[in-house]
Amino acid sequence: MSDSFNHQHAAHCETGVMSAILRRHGLDISEPMAFGLASGLAFAYLPMVKINGLPLIAYRIPPRMIIRLLSRRIAGLSMEFRKFRNEEEGMRELDRLLDEGQVVGLQTSVFFLPYFPQDMRFHFNAHNLLVYRRDGSEYQISDPVFSHVVSTDAESLQKSRFAKGVLAPKGMMYYPTSVPAEIDFKRLIPKAIKLTTRISSKRSPMPLAGVKGIRRVARKIEKLSDAEPRYANLYLGHIVRMQEEIGTGGGGFRFMYAAFLQEAADIMASDLLAEAADKMSEIGDEWRLFALMCARMSKKRYGDTFASIAGQMNKVAQMESDLYDLLSTYR
């Protein structure tokens, strides 16, 4: 079974994997739809969690949540999630499932995957991929962020499944045990949008999330003029990397969410959602401009200042706030 795998290139690993798993079991769902139904969009600023001395900034809900929320929300979908204490057992179980013809999702560390270009290999432990076949000790992989299928040896795969540290995968693997024939979009779409607006709007109970989180980072950027220039550059660069470089589909997932809103507008025949999609796409453009300003800043041209960059971020915050207000009127 599964000699050829219908590989599809995606922007983000988690949504790409879920979309591919479901598609394989006959449930056609696009990457943006998987992202939107999981209420994947967010903004989070966690100054207490440091990565190389820089605060954690994310443009989506935490890793693993997209998969978990989707499997909880879609009626009739049940997923089996397994972790392993024993590495050999984890590999044996993977082999057994592959031999049965199952396609298995894995949580892995990017650092140990040899098919990643050297410059992209960081210690990020929550990368998701699909293994669809084993040829001896070679594993055939559909990694959603690559345009083609890839493969890796057993040793590298084992290392990457059992990498230690923050978000350690602990050999996590997952596969569906039952997949419904269709999704009740009319029920799920409003529900998913509601949670997204709750998390991110100005009325959010969380001061570090959504619009409030963006404004807080903007205030922090204003104060960077007093910081050491090297730190200031790294700080801005770090935000941009989380927004663009790590596979977000551009504009920190905003373009992908706009695609979801557009798809949702068609399904629900809603003018409000169509309007929201256009606005979200414009917001993505403003995020791209913000990234451009940050990168230019380090080159000391074009006259960008910390104040102007913070101003751009506040502008985005206001646009997002208005959009969430609009979306919160959607029933």
Partner: protein, 135 residues
């Protein structure tokens, strides 16, 4: 962003691969498209890699001078920092920092050495040594 405005800047970090980006087609539909990279991404990635490089170089110089152990050099060289390494081996940061002492590091129990080596993806023997040169 329109499909025709997607940057195609051939980022070297992608090593010839492409990424998916969502953009607006002429009909107004937002759909997937390919990008070979964006200069902005190249600039910020280079900054991050330069910073790791700077720390690695500094640790190398100190290790050669006998002021730190090869462990600290390899930590940076494998793109980790103290917090990450401590978390990965499940020890307090101050305990890991103590193993940066060259004298102490030489006497490290082989079991702990192996643990450090494992989380960095190295073998214990190469962890004990410094490369001939690091530029």
């Amino acid at each position: 962003m329109k499909v025709k405005d997607i940057p195609q800047d051939n980022n070297s970090s992608l090593a010839g691969e492409t990424k998916v980006i969502y953009a607006r087609s002429d009909s107004g539909k937002i759909e997937t498209a390919q990008t070979s990279g964006w200069d902005v991404e190249a600039v910020v990635l280079e900054q991050a890699i330069d910073e790791i490089h700077r720390q690695t170089k500094e640790a190398y110089a100190r290790a050669v001078a006998g002021r730190t152990s090869p462990l600290e050099f390899h930590m940076y060289n494998q793109r980790m920092d103290l917090a990450m390494l401590a978390q990965a081996v499940g020890r307090f940061q101050w305990l890991v920092r103590r193993d940066f002492d060259p004298v102490r590091f030489k006497r490290l129990p082989s079991e702990r050495l192996k643990r450090y080596a494992d989380v960095m993806g190295l073998d214990p023997d190469s962890l004990k040594k410094l490369p001939e040169d690091y530029v």
